[in-house]
């Protein structure tokens, strides 16, 4: 006997969602000092004011979550994680270009 599973309401955090720095810290598992360092490095650009009052668009989350995972799992510091993130991003962009170019070269079936 199968019942229809209950429907949940999903809310996608998009650029229209602004999140407070405390929530950002929770979602990314970063501490405030790390977020301040990320702002210093230009990875996030908070509006003026005290760090505790900062707000961010939810679009910053994916990158910050990668930074946080790299820091936590590989034991690198903020600068190291940002460096790795930027290299990964540039590698992915190159791979996309490479695939596009390979698509041009590949013989048709």
């Amino acid at each position: 006997m199968s019942r229809t599973p209950p429907m949940l309401t999903a809310e996608v955090l998009t650029e229209s969602h602004w999140i407070a720095v405390t929530q950002l810290c929770e979602l990314c598992r970063l501490d405030l000092a790390a977020v301040e360092e990320l702002a210093e490095l230009g990875v996030v650009s908070p509006r003026q004011g005290r760090a505790a009052d900062w707000q961010f668009p939810a679009t910053v989350l994916p990158r910050l979550r990668i930074v946080s995972r790299l820091m936590r799992d590989l034991g690198v510091n903020v600068s190291g994680a940002v460096l790795a993130l930027e290299l990964l991003e540039s590698q992915r962009a190159l791979e996309r270009r490479l695939r596009a170019l390979e698509g041009l070269l590949a013989a048709e079936r």
Binding site: P5, L8, E11, P62, L104
Partner: protein, 331 residues
């Protein structure tokens, strides 16, 4: 549930020191970290390692795990002993991370949460060390948020989708033993999600046993590779084969897009590799992405007398030297 040999997962002896375990973990983490690794099974490997390290790094959990004995083999059917956890003192401030309970990935046997999020570990881990077990951390206030990953194909990301999600929750049975129970929910993913976005399911995280509000479940989206389209943010790129005369003379061609075929005008004199933009035909959003169409000129084979004769005609009547630019450079 199946027994897991945590020593085997990390590739260390049962007698390994804490330092040896840590160094094995660091070496493997560097190799299999899903954000970095190119290994095909990196995500699963990393999760298994993480679970193993979670137990073996913690002296209390490791001692309890060791008490199960060394006769167990990976994959053997296993039930936790009834006196599990007896004889251990549970002080505060352990490094553990509490119980399982995040989401499960759609269409995969492996639990979701491929990366180093909350401990959505195996049932084996959950039954021994998860929430409700003597090893779980005491959480007096509201429930924690949980994180999981969800795989979505590009077509579903474009038009939105309803997906079934299996959520795991540890529950205490009347006889005091712990059971990880799975319940299925339906989630509607709206159109236009992109790689790495977070989807919040309010109240679906960890329950709060003492009256606080339950945590939320966050799904991190992962868009699966598509055979036709390359995704970059909300933009997609498609390679479109065209005939030489379409490129030379211009043509109106039908191009597949995520929303269905559209007609597109190719201007005369188009070249291979040239990119044309179909504005707003990428993933929906504010603003929506674009579709790029990369032209690829495909030559008809000279496989029939007619085709051969046409090529011969071009050779004799066209004043065309494809190597004109090389002249005088290295000769």
């Amino acid at each position: 549930m199946e027994f897991r040999d945590y020593y085997q997962v990390l590739g260390v002896e049962r007698t390994a020191t804490a330092d040896q375990i840590k160094s094995a973990w660091r070496r493997l983490a560097r190799k299999y970290h899903p954000d970095v690794s190119k290994e095909p099974d990196a995500e699963k490997r990393f999760k298994d390692m993480q679970e193993a390290y979670e137990v073996l790094r913690d002296p209390e959990k490791r001692a309890a795990y060791d008490q199960l004995g060394s006769q167990w083999k990976s994959g053997e059917q296993f039930r936790p002993p009834p006196d599990w956890g007896n004889g251990f003192e549970f002080g505060g401030g352990r490094g553990g991370r509490g119980g399982p309970g995040g989401g499960r990935r759609r269409r995969a046997e492996e639990p979701a949460n491929g990366t180093s999020q909350d401990g959505d570990f195996s049932d084996f881990f959950g039954s021994l060390f998860g929430g409700g077990s003597p090893f779980a951390q005491h959480r007096p206030r509201g429930g924690r948020d949980h994180h999981a990953r969800i795989d979505i194909d590009l077509a579903a990301a474009f038009r939105g989708t309803t997906t079934l999600l299996e959520l795991k929750r540890p529950e205490l049975k009347p006889d005091g033993t712990l059971e990880v129970r799975t319940h299925t929910v339906r989630v509607t993913i709206p159109a236009g999600v992109t790689e790495g976005q977070l989807i919040r399911l309010a109240g679906q995280g960890e329950g709060a046993p003492e009256g606080g509000s339950a945590g939320d479940l966050y799904l991190e989206t992962h868009i699966l590779p598509d055979p036709l389209y390359q995704l970059d943010g909300r933009d997609v790129t498609l390679t479109l084969p065209v005939a030489p005369w379409e490129a030379a003379l211009g043509a109106s061609v039908t191009v597949p897009t995520l929303g269905g075929p559209v007609d597109m005008r190719i201007a005369p004199g188009a070249e291979s590799g040239q990119k044309l933009r179909l504005r707003g035909r990428g993933l929906p959003g504010q603003p929506p992405g674009d579709q790029y169409v990369q032209l690829k000129i495909v030559l008809p084979p000279a496989s029939t007398p007619e085709a051969k004769s046409l090529y011969e005609q071009m050779r004799s009547s066209l004043d065309f030297d494809p190597r004109a630019q090389l002249k005088g450079t290295h000769t």
